[in-house]
Structure formats: structure tokens, C-alpha cells
């Protein structure tokens, strides 16, 4: 149990650090995938099977893909030359460490840490479904609204408004050298000197 936990912790945290510190963006994304997978494993270990697999399905299957798309869409031309960290990186690191310290301190000081685990309950998908459709119907509808709104919003933001230039692409050069002039058979060209 502990071994599993340690392995998972190492995988998750190391890949998380890598995801935050690697220079190559796509490497970051791939490490992030590993982090997500590690988290999913934690969920499984905590007997939340459905959440674990949902985590993989959504984060690995969709969010990671979206991040990768975004990375390929925004080419960082000079990422190899520039520093990857912002000038105020020291402040950030220190801040993060402070936060980490504070949380750990409070965890260790709290009484909860010694709370024993309860008996292993089977969380079936059926139970989740029943809960979802009874107690959580309102949040469900709200989340649908949120997702729809997010989708529409994101699409509007990301949608490249077709400018006049790119709208002309539809059928560009099919007739370029043959502009429509009246049939020369009917209009004899005698006006030329």
C-alpha cells in the first residue's frame, strides 16, 4: 500500500514539476498527462473508480488534446532562445513554497490527520447515477448551462472571424484569366488602332 503510494507520489509530483519546468511545450503537455494519470491512480486507490476513469477520459482524452492543439496553434517562435521563466520568478517560487509550507503546517497541526479510514464502501456507478439524478439534478442542469455557455464562449473567442481576404478563398483562381467580357463574336473588336 505504502509502496504504491510512494510510487504514485513520485510519478505524479515529478511529472508535475517537469510539466511546469520543461522548455519544450509539448513535453510539458505530455508530462501533464502523466500527472493526470497519476492523480487518477490516486483516485482509484481511494476507491473512487468512476472518478478515476472519468479523470483519465476527460483530462487525458480531451483537456490534454486541447492543450496540445493550443500549443500547435500558438507557435512560440523564439522559445528556444528566450528565458522560459518570467523575471519575477524568484517571488513566485518563494510564494509557492510559502503556501506549501503553510498548508503542510496546518495539515500536520490539524486533528483530522489521525482520523481513521472508514470501512471500504463500494461506490458503484449506479449509486452515483441515482444520486446525480435525484439530489444533484439542479447542479446537473447548471453544469449543462455552464458547459454550453463555455462552449459558445470559447468558440466565439477562438473563431477566426472570416475576413474579406480569406472569404475569397472559396473558389479563387478558377476563372482568373478569363474575366467576363462580352462574347467577341458579337462585339467585333474594331476599336483597336
Amino acid at each position: 500500500m505504502v509502496t504504491t503510494f510512494v510510487i504514485l507520489t513520485i510519478v505524479t509530483l515529478v511529472s508535475a514539476i517537469a510539466a511546469m519546468s520543461l522548455r519544450n511545450l509539448v513535453h510539458c503537455a505530455l508530462c501533464l498527462v502523466l500527472t493526470f494519470a497519476g492523480l487518477a491512480a490516486f483516485y482509484l486507490q481511494l476507491n473512487a473508480q468512476f472518478v478515476g476513469f472519468a479523470q483519465i477520459l476527460v483530462y487525458v482524452g480531451a483537456v490534454a488534446i486541447l492543450i496540445v492543439f493550443a500549443m500547435l496553434l500558438t507557435r512560440n517562435v523564439d522559445s528556444t532562445r528566450q528565458a522560459i521563466l518570467s523575471p519575477s520568478w524568484g517571488v513566485g517560487i518563494v510564494g509557492a513554497l510559502l503556501v506549501f509550507g503553510a498548508i503542510v503546517l496546518s495539515i500536520l497541526c490539524s486533528t483530522m490527520v489521525h482520523r481513521p479510514a472508514l470501512s471500504e464502501t463500494q461506490v458503484t456507478v449506479l449509486a452515483i447515477g441515482e444520486q446525480l439524478m435525484t439530489n444533484y439534478v439542479l447542479p446537473l442542469e447548471v453544469i449543462a448551462l455552464l458547459l454550453t455557455a463555455a462552449m459558445i464562449g470559447a468558440v466565439i473567442i477562438a473563431l477566426h472571424e472570416p475576413t474579406s481576404e480569406s472569404s475569397a478563398v472559396q473558389n479563387p483562381r478558377l476563372e482568373p484569366s478569363v474575366p467576363s467580357v462580352p462574347n467577341p463574336a458579337q462585339v467585333p473588336r474594331t476599336d483597336h488602332p
Binding site: 484569366s177 467577341p184 463574336a185 467585333p188 473588336r189 474594331t190 483597336h192 488602332p193
Partner: protein, 211 residues
Amino acid sequence: METLEQIKGRITAIIPGARVDLIPNECPSNQPSLLIDQEHGVRIAEFLRDDPQLRLDYLSNVTGVDWPDTIVKEKVKVMKLVEGVETEVHGVVERKKQGYLEVVYHIYSIAHKHGPVIVRLRTNDRNVAVHLPSLTPIWRSAEFQEREIYDLYGVIFDGHPDLRRILMWDGFEGHPMRKDYVEPDDYEYEPTPHDEVLERARSHQARNAVL
């Protein structure tokens, strides 16, 4: 279809200053052609295409032809200083006849289903004045064929939208279809060599050895 004489007459009537010559063809094929001048080339081509009686809307074939400089021997009397005395001597003068590059257009009409009308354009010489008007703006089918003639013969077509080498690579020098083009000598070895090839190969190998 009208005869070439009629076409020639109409061209010279409509386009002032245009010079059109009739080039006869005696062989059984009987395909005479019109030699048109460079300045009015495009205008004449346009006339041929748009004239309602001709409507030569379809340019089928564009050919480059190389007519190298020829040496015409003529017997002339020349005054020459022979031993201090100027005397009249019968001599043979080799007069150089200026060669030229020629481009031949075979034009048909799809609308009237007649043709061909054969039109020729000639450059002034083979080295410098190798410019001819491009007929690509009139008939797009000339685009690749004129590029090919530029590549293989070295005719520069003014007004061509994209005059680059087409068959040979970009760094290639010379125009290989010209009659005087010397091919790179890579017959160093042949199992069935003819004598002259063998001779050439020997010199080539010697040159390679030096290099």
C-alpha cells in the same frame, strides 16, 4: 477557312505597321505559315483569336526551332596588298549568315473546327536579341511550352508570367536543344562503343585524371 493570303491581308489592313510574310511549304503536307513581326506579335495573335471569322481560340502547339549561324561562301574580288602593291585578287569570302531562333505556333479553332493556322516568330539573333513577345496572355496553353522553349532554346519571352527553367534544373547552363550545344561527356565507359565515342571518352578520362 480563309487562305493565309486573306488572313495576311486582313491583318495588315487592321493592324497598321504589322509585317506579315507568307512562308511556303512545298512538301506534300502543304502547311504554309505566316511569319509575323515581334512588335505586333501579341496584337496579331489577339486578332487571330478574337476575329469572328477565324476565332482561333485554341493554341495547340508551340515549337522552338534553332537555325544556327551558317557560313555562306561567296566569291568576291578583293583589293589586297601583295608585296606592297595593291592588286585585285579573287578570293572566297565566308560571309556569316546570322542565325536565329524561331518559335512556331500551331493554332486551331474549336469554335469553327478549322485550322491550323501556323504562325512563326523569329528572334534577331541567337545570343543577345533573343527576346520575343509571349503569347501566354492570349492563350494560356503557351505557358508551359514557352517555358520549355526558354529552357531548351533560350528564347526570352517578354510578358510571360513565370519564365523559369522547366525541364532542366535551375543551375543548369546553356540551352541543350540548340544545335551547337555540347553535351556533357560521360561516355567514359561503354561496352559497345563506337569509335568516335571511344575517342571522346579517352580525352574525357584524361581530363578527369588531371582533375
